[in-house]
């Protein structure tokens, strides 16, 4: 049993390796993905709770309650899906370190996020039922609050990135940050498809 550390024999040098990376080669991408996994699990469980309570039978929605209005929900859904176009474009530009396009892109995404948050605010007043009425209402609001939190969080993130990109000289890792933020927005868009279905079409179809 050795009392001293074993000797090291240097057999190579890593100083020539790049000092940044995109996507799965970057540490932060993995962190981002892991948190998306955690939040995705929470979404799935919230949806499961909705379906469990729905599965108890009875009226859905309860008598006297109108399902959430389709107009504002539809508008939000359309806007959210459309926002994925500039988002994709922006993500591609970050890999080219194209500062002008990236600045333009994050500005567009910030404005899109603000507009969508505005629509969401109106949408919340067209759910047509308060969460404290019964379990149906609680389930709808649970999903709504969960998703809205994500919209607002990512909007905040995008806005701060936007401010930073306009005021500073970004290095490669900052482009990588914008790249990750684009992935996160995609997560927000994709999760809305089942969640929106449960909120808007669930009471009508299920």
């Amino acid at each position: 049993m050795s009392e001293e550390t074993p000797a090291f024999r240097v057999v190579g040098d890593v100083s020539a390796l790049p000092d940044y990376a995109f996507g799965p080669r970057s540490i932060l991408w993995w962190g981002n993905s892991a948190f998306m996994m955690i939040e995705g699990t929470a979404f799935v469980l919230a949806a499961a709770a909705y379906l469990y309570i729905r599965g108890k039978g009875g009226h859905w929605p309860p008598p006297g309650v109108r399902p959430p209005d389709l107009l504002w929900g539809g508008l939000f859904t359309a806007g959210l899906l459309l926002s994925e176009l500039p988002n994709r474009w922006l993500q591609a530009k970050t890999r080219q370190f194209d500062l002008a396009s990236v600045r333009f892109g994050v500005l567009v995404m910030t404005l899109a996020g603000l507009a969508l948050a505005g629509v969401r605010a109106v949408e919340l007043s067209h759910i047509n039922v308060r969460w404290g009425v019964d379990a149906y209402a609680s389930c709808i609001w649970l999903l709504m609050v969960l998703h809205t939190t994500h919209v607002v969080t990512d909007l905040g993130d995008t806005a701060v990135l936007c401010l930073w990109m306009f005021t500073h000289q970004p290095g490669p890792s900052q482009f990588s940050d914008v790249n990750d933020n684009c992935s996160y927005w995609t997560f927000v868009v994709v999760t809305w498809i089942p969640i929106g279905f449960l909120i808007y079409l669930g009471p009508r179809l299920l």
């Binding site: 981002n32 948190f35 990135l161 890792s173 940050d177 933020n181």
Partner: protein, 172 residues
């Protein structure tokens, strides 16, 4: 969690003492606020007589105590008080506002329950023991401050509890 804005770094930040102090102060004041109202007395020291007035030494243990209020709510349901004083009854009989006609402190509320009032409120002192009247008075006192949805939520949880003579078994 913060995401996106990434692998940032350094720069020494001064210890923001003021923020820490504010946070700690808030936390401890919230804690201190919680204690008395959270007390839970379950032993045999319950009152067997009516309150003697506003300076009765037993009052603080009942006035804002969550446990006693909750017990009072239970008996409120058991004795069918909801038949006249349900949440959907007319104001002020539903106790949703603090303008109690005969006073909103425990001694007055106790008196109303125990001795009855003109206009249909019967006297309960021969039917309900003092301890429970204390608790019901505490409950009624808390009602104007209770969120209406929360009151309904509690009532629903107690729906299976016996409501006077109308009770007919477990909730199915």
């Amino acid at each position: 969690m913060g995401r996106g804005l990434g692998t940032s770094d350094d720069e020494k930040w001064r210890l923001n003492l003021s923020r820490v102090a504010i946070a700690l102060a808030m936390a401890s004041s919230l804690g201190a606020w919680g204690c008395d109202s959270e007390k839970r007395t379950v032993d045999a020291t319950a009152p067997v007589t009516a309150p003697t007035g506003r300076s009765d030494p037993r009052l603080p243990a009942y006035a804002d105590n969550k446990f006693q209020q909750s017990q009072g709510g239970l008996y409120f349901t058991w004795y069918g008080c909801g038949q006249c004083h349900s949440q959907s009854a007319q104001r002020p009989q539903n106790f949703s506002t603090a303008n109690f006609r005969y006073g909103g402190d425990i001694p007055f509320l106790y008196q109303s329950i125990a001795d009855g009032r003109a206009g249909g409120m019967p006297a309960y002192k021969d039917r309900v023991p003092a301890q429970q009247i204390w608790q019901m008075a505490s409950y009624v006192k808390s009602l104007p401050k209770t969120n209406q949805y929360l009151r309904r939520r509690e009532d629903l949880d107690q729906k299976g509890q016996p409501t006077g003579t109308t009770w007919s078994g477990a909730v199915r």
